[in-house]
């Protein structure tokens, strides 16, 4: 029997829903950043800093970061449980992914609230 104790939401249906909700957040954030950077002048340091100093932008960025963490975990978990059959190799891969996700979240919070 296949156990799914390493899945994100402990339930396939819950993971399915989380994957879609986080996808929408990530699309919104990507569209926003691409529009900001592609359809305007290169921002000055003051403008760039000002953008990320705003509470709304910090919350939006943190939301995107947490969405990325959940979305990447669900996606990489699905792929690795399908294609990495040896338990040891899968454990190492998923551990690296989990650790890197944790580092991203801490690092991102440090950047956002360290401005």
């Amino acid at each position: 029997m296949v156990t799914s104790i390493t899945s994100f939401g402990r339930s396939g249906l819950y993971d399915w829903m989380i994957q879609r909700v986080t996808a929408l957040v990530l699309v919104a954030y990507t569209v926003f950043m691409v529009c900001y950077l592609a359809f305007g002048d290169v921002p000055t340091y003051e403008q760039w800093k000002g953008l990320f100093e705003g509470t709304a932008m910090r919350i939006f960025t943190l939301l995107a970061l947490l969405s990325m963490a959940a979305h990447a975990w669900i996606g990489l978990w699905s792929v690795s449980t399908d294609y990495i059959k040896p338990t040891g190799a899968r454990f190492v891969f998923q551990s690296v992914c989990g650790l890197l996700t944790f580092i991203y979240v801490v690092w991102g919070i440090q950047i956002l609230w360290g401005i």
Binding site: A23, V27, V42, L76, L100, I111, I115
Partner: protein, 93 residues
Amino acid sequence: MFFGAIFMLYALGLSLESEAGFNEAVAMFEGSFFAKLIAWGLISALGYHCLAGIKHLVMDAGYCEELETGRLAAKVTLIAGAVAVLLAGVWVW
């Protein structure tokens, strides 16, 4: 993309750390071939993943599930993905 996010966070952190860091990040995106290559690769992957994801959501909603429309949606996604990769290259260079 997941491992490439290291570069995105590094660039974000550098650009917000100080004015000197910001200038360094801008100079990197304007001058370094490798920085441009990494940016192009990441933006391309993100663009294609977004488009394929939107197609996935459209199919979740019950559209394009038949063989004919499904094939068409797949082709449209691939072509739009190729266009996105080209546009990303134009943007970066």
